[in-house]
Symmetry: C2
Subunit: 887 residues, 2 copies
């Protein structure tokens, strides 16, 4: 038996069904399924994606017998509709539409009103009783066919139309009458001939086949190829082609068209939602010339149709077990559904719908989890620009979406001003070329942060994400000088209102209205379900036990918040931020510029009790959970003062001359600080610094343990490149830790491990693991070194790399599995070869990114760690990874 | 039969031989072999390294029967010598010496004069007729035994000796008479008792066993363990212990002692060389109190002994087929050889001796190759400080030995001054904090370069090596300010004479006398033999054909010189240096600051013909050999001016305001330029720059080809991290190349490849290789990124890392096989998986380093490329790699 290529739907029967997306495309499968479900759908047939595959495999030809098969289906359609293509009395009109298994909006082509010709147009006029409608339909068809099928530029037709309107002195297309449109058809046909060298085809079957060819041809147009590449759409056979009888919503006052949702896509509430226009076509709704009506009002206007529509939407939602987005047309009092699909929705709606549907018994918890994407969940936790305001607001420029959420405030250009203004009761937005650790106070005070340089892991981006402060970085269109800022062509003074959207990277003028986030009961329930799924990794006894979500937190407050969001420990507590507080930075600077070990030790002795208090607070907040503390990492020059006054003050406090101090500060300068004297290299050259930190950690641990807190300190040595570094540092740390425990007469379990952030550490992980209790992949630095990209300097080429498709993603945002991922995998596997008990996690920014989280689970990590605000997203993403893995 | 542990030698017979180094140690095997060869050697026996191994495997005990076996050998020794240990009339005295298979100078212990006690000392006095000698020997024995065997500090004995001399008012030990020494013995025994709690042992066998224990114990003292670790000495069983009868050169005027060489170790000439002292001990020669006589004079003084010595040295040289370094003692008119070993020698001597010995039929060519180390060969090509002057000169400070050879000149502190002073006929030494591309003219003019910062691959180091200019970098003891420089405590003004030794890193005051290098006929012959061996890789049909030596050269002059040194192509021609010449830098700067593509193109059009001429010159110099040209690599800010005047001039030439130009220049600043906008990233964002370079390359190739030159251009895209970058750049380059060839109507074979210097490129080499004809490992950058070390900033921690043994070598000098090497291996293997014809080489600084060259050969590379002056070293090292591989 010959292979079936064409699938009919109509009259309550269909050859295809919802499961046949691969063969019929999303649209074709949906139409077949609706037909079977007795939903009124205009009849038609779908030519399968197998034909598309054959077409490209066989030099753009069709399989034997296809023409006959299409003809048989067309005959059936004509007989069912009681109309014939091209009939001069009552012609059948059809649309020809593309549709692959995965939606590729706007990438491929559609032709409407096919079947019209110089004779049939009269038949349509007569049958509809509307000559203008008939000639307008014909004009549109010539334009669309010319453009889509024959490659005549749309502007060529538009020019003729504009001339006509100018001559008549009218503004809108609707001001043209039937006679005008008739003239236009003549002129359009001329345009067609001039551009194609042939007459406009009058044979409807010729029209149809040319259009089918064009739709199959559009599968491999450069736009579509690029779209699939960028969206990583692979393994599809091609597009299907659906030929479907036309229905018209503009046949009169008993006709209409609309779009509706089975629940509110904005809030998720279970209400029928949508809008419609009577005597109108879909295009009119889109064009916005007339204001559509709320769907509810249809119940007054046409209770019968409304009731039918409600039944249909209930049926479809039940059928698809998801919120539906439907297009419908009413033609002369008769309802037709043209499309149904799972509706797009906001994050809030996604969570509410998923939870409601579980409660309604429509879906189970695991399915509910599939219904919310991590990106949607992210929205829920951040303020957003009111969608209505966002629609009309125009972005002045776009930077990188470094920390999600929207913020509005008066712009200030220094961190000190930010703090001052906020003290004065104002809301501010801090705009800087780039931020540095000295700006942290101001960043904390500000509603949002905007920088003109830097990438997704620049200082501003990392710190803002940690704080949950909306942030846009690397906005090249922003030029700050003194107390003013240019954004594109627009100038802003200090105090002017600006709005940023850290979710999209957009920057707006003025104070746009924001919607504040709300953590609902549904959300809590939803997240707990994800934990149930995630915890199966543990329960079902896989070799690698558990998959936890930790947080990167440097203060007790952050730790507490993260815990509320579900964090199961701290994966990265950076100790350097602690030194920037007013009372400490001076002592820390004295330590840095110390002339000798004794002077350095003196300063460290003053810092120790302060650090100890920091750690005690964090241990208390994380009672019962592990806390990984990273010893000092950044190069020392980040801490020294740059301003004259501060240098003078420091010089006095350490009793050296200003020139001598300046020389000392200069000597700390490095050509490439990212590859310089930092991390464990500081630990090796100034062991007393690390020893002080270990003493503070262990003393704090002893003190809180005495108060009944359960404490699990994990001491992390950063930037290790050889096992020897770790060996030396571990011995030092153990010595200090044992001394403290002995003095305090306590027993506390502690671990010593390392960050894996230097490629060499990953390559030699088998050696490194011999001296490590745990590995934590620092994928920010690992990405920098594996790619050779400075995260502070990529602004000059990364945007072009992304645009040209040289990179698919910003590797600082999404872990590069192909390159950096090899090192992560290798590091994990080699590490466990020599140390099977090695605990492995990630604390780079990727620890909060869903695709990266799945990767981390696959390579066998024990946990991911991310900023507090991303903990819920990580919980969801991790659960999906576990569920995916089980399938 | 029980295992044999003790090996006797004496009376023309020996249980061991030269092949038994593993078992008897180098010294024991040498003594056995000499004995068998009828060379007069004091009799004795060697306890094998198996005993040492047993000792450590069995809790520091000895195998059963060892004591008896030692006793039997001691009996045999006593009977052969006709003396008995401890005999109060005529005691046998012995030395106990350590000696492993590999020489570990000064690491383990030796005891002389063993067998003396309160009675035997009288016997010795009587028999020698020299009471002072006897008591002095006893005193020395107590000191040595106390120190070496019992751990009494040497100072304890020294204090007593000093007190005695002070009391007597004399300066030298020799001013003490027998009575004094007798008193000293009493006092020494007291010191011994005070420090050990026991009497000094009087039983000679007790003395002997205690000493044997101590020697075996010294194998695992921390000093020895560390020495073996640092020198990568592995797999040895332990040390052997040789007990040997003492002979004395201080028995009178018919006794003496000396050291001699079978050829001149300084020049390699075949003359008998050495010195001796009559009536003296080895210590006296070393102490330098009396001036030794030239060995020739012995022929007048004692023709019989001299003749015997000449016969012995001829015999030993023939026997060992190498130049011998021998210790001898004449005791009362009788000659004894105490040691013979292959003599250390200068580079010049090593080559001459190897070639002479081949010509004399003593060794074959392959063996000759083993007789010269790459380090020795390196010496030959560079001036060195006259060894006699070097002995007495005191180094003021020591930096990194960045480019070998010694240089002396008047110090200047700017490149411009260097050039000016040289024009005025002076010889200068350029001292800078660090150098930059603008300093190249001055570096070229200078005799040598000294910098206070930077590492082995800093700009100064790389450029100086390329030029063959001696260079010391990273000399932390040097502080330059204005027109003066402090070196340690010593101040230098501009114009003061300074000498540097780039081979050792030392810096000296004043103008030390230098010895200029001389390229001899022997050297040429020697290098050709190495090529014969290296070319076996090709001839014997290994899968990976050939192993070539290329050079890194940027000018026709360098290319020519490298070719004379034996380079078989250019592995790296950097194009950026070409832009620094006076006439070009201005145009290049105009290109950099161009406001738009047109202005940039205009500047490039001016540069194209200049670049073309550069390439034409290089192609001609390399007629018939491949030339790899790397497209522009460094970040653009390296080229822009920093001085006010130059900025003004540039602003005028491109017709923009100075502030605007400054802003543009500022915008090029990067936080981490090494990880910034450079290499292929420039090619992607400014394709017109690379296109210009490719056009220049291909046009030059066509032009010289028309003149009959055989040209093989290889275009190299730098800093590739993803195959997509290479893909885009390759397409551009091919387009330009094909256009040029078409215009010129020529066919020229060319290749397009990439540097592998980003870790990610190595990790994804299978993908990258699909678009590359060749890989060239840029191991400088690869090392930077794999370790996360900025080569410009490692000065702050690398010295300590090396000292503490955290790193065994500077990874910029010696390829880190364990870490970076993994990437090199992986890159090579993965690359050939998808592109079996892939040509692979290395062009980092490691391409001239012997151990790294061997590694490159092992992983299957086709060539190594190094600076011209290192080509001969690379030829030798590569030949050794091939020979080693064949074994």
């Amino acid at each position: 038996m010959a292979k079936k290529y064409v699938y009919f739907f109509g009259g309550g029967e269909a050859d295809g069904n919802a499961q046949m997306k691969e063969t019929l495309g999303g649209k074709g499968a949906g139409l077949a399924e609706m037909t079977r479900a007795d939903v009124p759908v205009p009849a038609g047939f779908t030519i399968s994606t197998d034909v598309c595959e054959y077409y490209y495999d066989h030099d753009e030809t069709y399989p034997d017998g296809l023409e006959q098969e299409v003809q048989r289906n067309l005959d059936r359609l004509e007989s069912m509709m009681g109309k014939t293509l091209g009939d001069p009395k009552d012609p059948l009109l059809v649309s020809v539409r593309s549709g692959a298994a995965v939606s590729m909006p706007g990438m491929m082509d559609t032709v409407l009103n096919l079947g019209l010709n110089d004779e049939a147009v009269d038949g349509l006029a007569q049958k509809s009783g509307n000559e203008r409608f008939a000639w307008d339909s014909y004009r549109r068809f010539i334009n669309m066919f010319g453009d889509v099928v024959m490659g005549v530029k749309h502007e060529e037709f538009e020019k003729v139309l504009e001339r006509m309107k100018k001559n008549k002195g009218v503004e809108n297309d609707t001001d043209l009458d039937a006679a005008d449109l008739k003239k236009l058809v003549t002129q359009y046909k001329k345009v067609y001939k001039e551009n194609t060298g042939a007459e406009f085809p009058q044979d409807p079957k010729d029209q149809m086949w040319k259009t089918i060819n064009a739709v199959f041809g559009s599968w491999n147009n450069p736009r579509a190829i690029n779209y699939r590449k960028l969206n990583d759409i692979k393994g599809l056979k091609g597009t299907a082609v659906t030929v479907m009888s036309m229905v018209f919503g503009n046949f009169g006052e008993d006709s209409g068209t609309g779009v509706c949702f089975s629940r509110d896509p904005s809030t998720g509430e279970k209400v029928f939602y949508g809008e419609y226009l009577m005597n109108a076509q879909g295009e009119d709704v889109v064009a916005g010339i007339r204001t559509p009506m709320a769907i509810k009002t249809l119940s007054d206007r046409d209770p019968k149709i409304y009731k039918q529509l409600v039944e249909v939407k209930d049926k479809l939602e039940r059928h698809y077990q998801d919120m539906q987005d439907m297009e419908f047309t009413i033609e002369q009092g008769k309802l037709y559904l043209l499309q149904t699909r799972n509706g797009k929705r906001t994050g809030v709606a996604a969570v509410k719908i998923a939870v409601d549907m579980v409660n309604e018994g429509l879906i189970d918890k695991e399915k509910a989890m599939d219904r919310v994407t991590p990106a949607q969940l992210d929205q829920v936790f951040h303020p957003m620009i009111d969608p209505k305001a966002a629609e009309s607001a125009k972005s002045l420029t776009k930077g990188l979406n470094a920390s999600p959420g929207a913020a509005t405030g008066q712009v200030v250009f220094t961190a000190d001003e930010a703090e001052q203004w906020v003290k004065d009761g104002k809301k501010v937005l801090l705009a800087r070329k780039e931020t540095s650790p000295e700006d942290i106070g101001g960043m904390h005070a500000a509603e949002g942060v905007l920088t003109s340089t830097g990438g997704m892991t620049s200082h501003a981006a990392v710190v803002a994400r940690g704080m949950g402060t909306p942030c846009v970085v690397g906005a090249k269109g922003v030029v700050i000088s003194g107390k003013t800022m240019m954004v594109g062509e627009k100038k802003f003074k200090q105090g002017d209102f600006v709005t940023i959207d850290g979710t999209t990277g957009n920057v707006y003028e003025g104070a746009l209205p924001l919607m504040e986030p709300k953590i609902s009961g549904e959300l809590r329930a939803f997240l707990e379900w994800t934990d149930d799924v995630r915890n199966k990794a543990r329960r079902e006894g896989l070799e690698q036990v558990g998959f936890n979500i930790r947080t990167n937190a440097d203060t007790p407050e952050d730790a507490q918040r993260a815990r509320e969001f579900g964090a199961e420990g701290i994966g990265l507590c950076r100790t350097e931020h602690m030194f920037f507080e007013e009372d400490r930075i001076k002592i820390f600077r004295q330590m840095i510029v110390a002339e000798n070990k004794e002077a350095r030790q003196k300063a460290l002795d003053k810092l120790m009790p302060l650090q100890k208090e920091d750690f005690a607070g964090i241990f208390k907040a994380m009672d019962g959970l592990p806390v990984t503390i990273r010893l000092l990492d950044p190069p020392l020059h980040e801490f020294v003062p740059a301003e004259k006054e501060a240098i003078k003050e420091l010089a006095e406090s350490v009793n050296v001359s200003v020139p001598k101090l300046k020389a000392k500060i200069d000597s700390l300068h490095e050509a490439n600080p990212m590859l310089g004297h930092r991390g464990t290299r500081l630990g090796i050259t100034y062991p007393e610094v690390y020893n002080m930190q270990v003493e503070a950690i262990m003393t704090a641990a002893c003190e809180v343990a005495k108060q009944g807190v359960k404490v699990y300190p994990e001491i992390m040595i950063p930037l290790v490149g050889t096992v020897n570094e770790l060996d030396v540092m571990r011995k030092d740390a153990e010595q200090v830790a044992e001394r403290v425990l002995e003095e305090k007469k306590m027993t506390i379990e502690y671990m010593i491990g390392t960050m894996i952030e230097i490629p060499r550490a990953a390559l030699t992980a088998d050696e490194v693991a011999k001296r490590a209790d745990f590995f934590s992949f620092g994928t920010n630095d690992l990405t920098q070194m594996t790619f050779g990209y400075s995260r502070d300097d990529i602004g000059s080429f990364l945007p072009q790399y992304l645009e040209d498709g040289i990179l698919e993603d910003d590797p600082f945002a999404v872990l590069d599995q192909e390159g950096v991922g090899q090192l992560v995998k290798m590091g994990t596997e080699k590490g466990r070869q020599t140390n099977p008990k090695l605990k492995v996690g990630i604390c780079g920014e990727h620890g909060g990114e869903p695709r990266s989280i799945e990767f981390c689970y696959r390579v066998g990590m024990n946990y991911v760690s991310c900023s507090p605000f991303r903990v819920p997203i990580a919980r969801l993403a991790a659960a999906k990874a576990v569920a995916h893995d089980e399938k």
